[in-house]
Symmetry: C2
Subunit: 91 residues, 2 copies
DNA sequence: CAGCATCCTGCTTGATACTG
DNA sequence: CAGTATCAAGCAGGATGCTG
């Protein structure tokens, strides 16, 4: 469910904002490609962690946000990240 | 640090016992191979999550345990697993 | 802007056989 | 028992070009 090079970066970035457009995520997450962004967003969507809003506009306007369910998971993920931080500092 | 097909199964299994031999882990974790067990144990060792005790006996006797550091990480992992459980039940 | 399709590469994994 | 070595396969991921 969380496996994939960019799942966590996407979740954390998305968690920091109420809502975000694709292009913003693409800019904000260094190194990610359009392909992987979309692919991982789809999976996060399927798993109910992220919601997609399509504004049906021209030009296209789509926004993403972390769902309530996804938000419930974040504290645990933050704890793991914190552990990783302190753990990696030592190197 | 946790990425790898068997890292979490190993950690959780190891967490449930004070100490475990290789062969026990091999038996207890369905589907894992000798190779992956050793490989992942080495990495967990390098990351300080697991400790290896070699009893220097003949025949070989080696035991593994979760380190204090590793134990500190477990509550967060358990929380994520719990989330995954409830999440997967719905399917 | 948002997304899809394609090709291509490298890592991770699995199967198997072997050593002390 | 514990571990290593080798080979082949599968899949995730990167680069690129195209669509509405």
């Amino acid at each position: 469910m969380l496996s994939g090079r960019w799942k966590l970066p996407i979740l954390f970035r998305l968690f920091a904002e109420p809502t975000m457009r694709s292009s913003q995520l693409l800019r904000d997450i260094p190194g990610i490609s359009q392909k992987m962004l979309t692919q991982h967003l789809r999976q996060l969507e399927q798993d109910g962690l992220v919601a997609r809003q399509d504004f049906q506009e021209q030009p296209p306007h789509v926004a993403y946000e972390v769902t309530a369910s996804g938000r419930a998971l974040m504290p645990a993920l933050i704890a793991v990240r914190e552990f990783a931080r302190q753990h990696t500092e030592a190197e």
